[in-house]
Symmetry: C2
Subunit: 114 residues, 2 copies
């Protein structure tokens, strides 16, 4: 699988995104990451393996408690890919804006008729 | 599944991203979308259904040829989510920058010693 697909698949899970959000406030051990999650330890380990394979987290090999850290590189790739479509969501807001202006003009038209 | 997870799962496939890239240049029929793809018609239809469920494309119900159009709203949600981590990828570039400046300073140090 290409790296962007691997990243997007890893991110397509609310628990894995919650783990990344937790790591945004600093490195954490598996125990610390598991504490607030309503899932089993082995389930957390499985999610961490998916995130690690996608290069979204790194686990220290040296320290015995092996803290996890956030690796934001793949998230940059996701942001850049999605930003490539910005003109399309801007365009739909422009269309909405045009529509609202048309309504306003029509409104003013009615006022003039009074 | 939450809408962001549905979107990310739909995007985690190079064929589906290729379909969105094609639709960025304008609406297309299923036949037009299938032509450049090395997969069967039913496989294309399946991908379109995933994209449609994620709200990434819309298919006209009126026209008999039912053209597909890009719907960029969910892509905005993806970009905004990923942009929330910008400080982390900027931070890793800052660290690289610091490292390079340290190397440069060390280099200058050696020059002074000459």
């Amino acid at each position: 699988m290409d790296s962007l697909s691997t990243t997007l698949a890893a991110l397509a899970d609310p628990t894995r995104r919650a783990i990344l959000a937790r790591l945004a406030s600093g490195p954490a051990t598996v125990k610390e990451l598991s504490a607030p999650l309503p899932i089993s330890g082995p389930a957390v380990t499985k999610h961490l393996r998916v995130l690690e394979r996608a290069g979204l987290i790194a686990r220290s090999r040296r320290a015995q408690w092996r803290p996890c850290t956030l690796e934001a590189g793949p998230l940059k790739e996701v942001a850049e890919w999605a930003e490539g479509y910005r003109e399309f969501w801007d365009a739909s807001f422009d269309r909405l804006d045009d529509y609202l202006q048309t309504l306003q003009r029509k409104g003013r038209g009615h006022d003039d008729e009074k």
